[in-house]
């Protein structure tokens, strides 16, 4: 645990130093978006990588966090820092709801994946039809740059914010590697019946994991709103967030500490390259994600971090 924490501290220091030294806006945006992708992947990894519950609908938690953040500011006039707490809580509550329903009835594997996907879609459609989300028009967060208003003039402020969330997610992941809860979660992932036989309650364990996972995904949603100041149903609950979260974790290496960071960095590098090479073809990054995912599953099923570990052994 101590060694993991030291490495996380070193990582935070290096990223912060890079952000301080780099001056180009393009690179600052790259760092920010890579960290944002890493946060999504880290969050997904808690449930998918350590818990073995593959969600295809993490956009649900992302969207709940994002809408809570936007509505709290725009409609209720709550300070964005407070709204952030609310956003994380709302996403966590969504995690409790989905988790309680699906794990109570023992949904696993592709059934769980389908249910999460369905939940995200239902919420997307609801967000279009109900009034307080702004419907299909979406919600605009008015621009008022100040740290107290959680809007920064420079990318560096946002990098600090998302780095904070990513470090928190890394610390939670490190804790999973060195705690009773994490041991039980991995036991449930590897063999639920064997875990039950030695006293592990799979329902409570998986519920804990989905709440943690949802909370961090919600924080990513809130972050998105602060950065882009606009939200509509397909941004919030669309499939691309779910895909980005799970592909990042799978490409990097599920159930590892650094895999999601490596995966998100690799994907963002790839996305930037293709954007430069293929111009502004919309959706090309999703095509690339698909190809990369197929290649990874075929050739390095344990992800990039998995290769490193194999070399290490």
């Amino acid at each position: 645990m101590k060694r993991d924490l030291l490495r996380i501290a070193a990582f935070a220091f290096v990223v912060a130093a890079l952000a301080a030294l780099v001056d180009s806006g393009v690179w600052l945006t790259f760092i920010m978006m890579s960290l944002y992708g890493a946060l999504l992947a880290l969050a997904w990894n808690i449930l998918g990588g350590f818990g073995g519950q593959f969600s295809f609908g993490h956009a649900l938690f992302f969207g709940c966090g994002a809408y809570a953040q936007a509505i709290a500011q725009v409609s209720l006039g709550i300070n964005p820092w407070l709204a952030l707490v609310l956003a994380v809580a709302v996403a966590a509550a969504a995690g409790v709801g989905v988790g309680a329903l699906s794990f109570r009835y023992g949904l696993k594997g592709s059934y769980f994946a389908l249910v999460t996907l369905a939940f995200a879609e239902v919420f997307r459609i609801l967000a279009v039809s109900v009034g307080f989300t702004g419907g299909g028009v979406g919600l605009m967060v008015p621009l008022r740059e100040s740290a107290g208003n959680l809007q920064f003039g420079s990318r560096r402020g946002y990098i600090g914010l998302v780095l904070g969330f990513a470090v928190a997610a890394l610390v939670v992941t490190a804790w999973l590697r060195h705690s009773r809860f994490g041991a039980r979660l991995q036991a449930v992932r590897d063999n639920e019946d064997a875990a039950r036989a030695i006293g592990v309650d799979p329902f409570r364990t998986k519920l804990g994991a989905i709440v943690l996972s949802a909370a961090f995904t919600g924080s990513a949603g809130a972050f998105y709103v602060q950065v882009f100041q606009y939200l509509d149903p397909s941004i919030a609950f669309g499939a691309h967030v779910s895909v980005e979260a799970l592909v990042g974790a799978i490409v990097g290496g599920m159930g590892t500490l650094w895999g999601p960071i490596v995966g998100a960095l690799a994907l963002h590098t790839l996305a930037e390259l293709t954007r430069n090479l293929f111009g502004q073809m919309p959706g090309i990054n999703l095509v690339i994600y698909g190809v990369v995912l197929v290649a990874i599953v075929m050739f390095v099923p344990r992800g990039i971090a998995g290769i490193a570990r194999r070399r290490h052994d």
Binding site: H178, Q186, A187, N191, D193, A197, I198, G199
Partner: protein
């Protein structure tokens, strides 16, 4: 002095569709004993274990463990009360090391990670896995996995250990190595009920034997008694065998 009963089944039955897998089984396992449950393939032994440990809920009948009615309790709850089962088909947490596997069991009574890992080391020593603690569970041999199955259950510090064919698939030498391990567990005060096909082991270890055939208990007694019982012989070798054997011997 009457021995305290640790586990008792009262008229337990379960059917799967039209198949009556366990029919009206009543038995009492006294505390501190090492007993065996035997019977031909398909007799319902593993089903009976699943009923005892809570993986299955009986259609009728009650299960009482340590003075408490536990009918319908989930297996994880029963593990906490002190009844832990192993699986005939070994179920390692394949992605994790032997130490991590055993620690999951130890965590039942030990929230701290370091203490659970230390407990895992101690249990591994007892079952002869000490040299393999850092290996991934997936890399173990069949004999190693059987030991791991046992170690994980043992780490949960059960009062009653249900062993489902821990000797199956082992060669005679490995069986001979495993017998003292099981005996040592029982000698430390853990009540052991084992399903076993290896009769050498049953004769060697068990004080009392129940024989299950087609879901019904057909005999109980010492190993010598049940192996001489004509109904047991017929259950294994077919109807009429006992009398035929008796005629041939005469």
């Amino acid at each position: 002095m009457t021995e305290a009963v640790l586990l008792s089944l009262r008229n337990v039955s379960i059917a799967f569709g039209g198949l009556q897998a366990v029919r009206d089984v009543s038995l009492e396992v006294p505390a501190g004993t090492l007993s065996a449950l035997i019977g031909p393939n398909g007799a319902g032994k593993t089903t009976l274990f699943a009923l005892m440990s809570g993986f299955l809920r009986p259609d009728t009948g009650r299960i009482i463990f340590d003075g408490q009615d536990i009918t319908g309790h989930a297996p994880q709850r029963n593990a906490l009360t002190g009844m832990v089962r192993t699986f005939q088909i070994v179920q390692p947490f394949a992605a994790q090391t032997v130490r991590e596997n055993i620690a999951v069991g130890a965590h039942l009574r030990e929230p701290r990670r370091a203490a659970a890992l230390a407990a895992a080391d101690a249990v591994a020593e007892r079952v002869g896995l000490a040299s393999q603690l850092d290996k991934p569970a997936a890399d173990l041999t069949v004999a190693g996995r059987k030991r791991l199955e046992l170690a994980r259950a043992l780490a949960a510090r059960p009062k009653l250990l249900l062993l489902d064919e821990v000797l199956a698939g082992l060669n005679p030498q490995e069986v001979a190595q495993m017998l003292p391990v099981v005996r040592e567990i029982a000698s430390r005060g853990v009540t052991v009920l084992m399903i076993e096909h290896v009769m050498q082991a049953v004769m060697n270890l068990a004080g009392q034997v129940w024989v299950l055939s087609q879901g019904e208990l057909i005999a109980r007694g010492s190993p010598a008694e049940v192996t001489a019982d004509p109904r047991v012989i017929e259950a294994y070798l077919g109807h009429g065998t006992a009398s035929r054997l008796a005629r041939q011997a005469a």
